[in-house]
Amino acid sequence: MTAVTLRSFDGPLTGLRDTRISFNRRNVESGVRLLQGLVDDPSSLMTLARIAAGDADEQRRQDLVNKFDENVITLNRCSGLVLLEMISASGLSWRDIARIGQVSVASVQKWRRGDGMTGANRANMARLAAILQQLPNHMIGEPSAWLEAKVLPNVGVTPLDLLAEGRFDLVLALATGTDTKGEVESVLDDYNVDWRVIFVDNDFTVVKGQDGRPVIVAKR
């Protein structure tokens, strides 16, 4: 047999649980690197290789996340309305605020009119406000503009998309530790290993038409 097709749902073990059991590295004071992944799952071999290469980056990312977590705790004390005002003042659209908060746009409309937020919703808004506050510390002068721009030219992923999936850690990593295309690609790999297939179009592109509006044309 030369080719084997594996489905991540057809694990070798019984049931629905993720078969990887991860060791919590934060609990190991000696800094010994522990292996993550299940030996009988081939895809984990790719994960192991990435972990081996990314140890120093992992620590730096962890420090950023810790600082971010502290900011969230502080902002979580604000009322929902205050948080919404802080966020909208940055220029983010209400629909993106809804997406990141994982609520409907109608819910955000109600919040704006003073309807209460649940604790979980307020925590989400606190996380978003914390990111907007933290980004200028990393030389990003216009956080909202940066959040809406593609992470790489011709790749349909923005930092907003990462936030909408709860990947605040990757957004912080992009803001601080990615000076090269390879480093950004590494963050994209973490987000979705198939980004080159799903978010890149090799056949078409968008240009300005004669009427000034976007037009889809074939790539030369």
Binding site: A145, W146, V200, G212, R213
Partner: protein
């Protein structure tokens, strides 16, 4: 790029609002993907490309919407003559590309809007519509998104300004006129800027300030 039509993983991501939630957006102009229930109890979805809306079209191309069954992932990669609208409440609907019609904007304004698609939902609809009409597969991300997001943003701006004006006691339409004039003032730069995502936050802030000033002084 994938050689298959998109199969959304999370159906709620297709929608901006559903059912009663759409009442919050009564002042939002008609847009691609909106589903209306006309007085004859039929359902129609707007399938015309979003770019035609900023030209103030009097009428739009619509496709009939019928009840269907829950679409599995495989359904999305076939069934080229329709767009799925799953989990609209307890029901699942299908936009039938072969059953077309034409509706005046005034007719739709008077009808009951029951679905608004998100930008992503509009992109999936457009991908399937293009494929149905021309057997050309265009990626929703980044390509179709890049072609629709500017107009989507414009519609949101029109809505926000309209709501602010109406809530301040101004007549309907005043907010829309204000935004349209503002966008056309600096032709083509300001409208062109809508198509650049990183310029949108600044435009939103500028518009917000403009509306506040307008309500204070006019």
């Amino acid at each position: 790029m994938s050689n298959q039509l998109d199969a959304p993983k999370n159906y709620s991501a297709l929608y901006h609002s559903l059912g009663e939630e759409c009442r919050e957006f009564d002042l939002r102009p008609v847009f691609t993907g909106d589903v209306f229930k006309t007085p004859d109890a039929k359902l129609w979805a707007v399938v015309q490309h979003p770019c035609t809306f900023s030209n103030g079209a009097a009428g739009v191309l619509v496709a009939e919407v019928v009840e269907g069954s829950y679409p599995s992932q495989k359904f999305w990669q076939g069934n080229f003559k329709k767009m799925f609208l799953p989990e609209v409440g307890d029901l699942h609907f299908e936009i039938m590309f072969g059953q077309l019609g034409f509706k005046r904007i005034s007719e739709l304004d008077a009808a009951n809007r029951i679905v608004l698609l998100s930008n992503y939902g509009v992109n999936v609809l457009m991908q399937r519509w293009i494929y149905h009409n021309a057997r050309v597969l265009v990626a929703t991300s980044p390509t179709i998104h890049d072609s629709t997001s500017g107009v989507f943003e414009e519609t949101e701006m029109l809505f926000e300004a309209e709501v602010s004006c109406v809530e301040a006691g101004r007549p309907e339409g005043e907010g829309i006129k204000l935004v349209t004039k503002w966008l056309d003032e600096d032709k083509p730069n300001r409208r062109g800027a809508l198509d650049e995502p990183q310029l949108r936050p600044a435009l939103r802030q500028e518009l917000s300030a403009l509306v506040k000033t307008h309500l204070m002084t006019a």
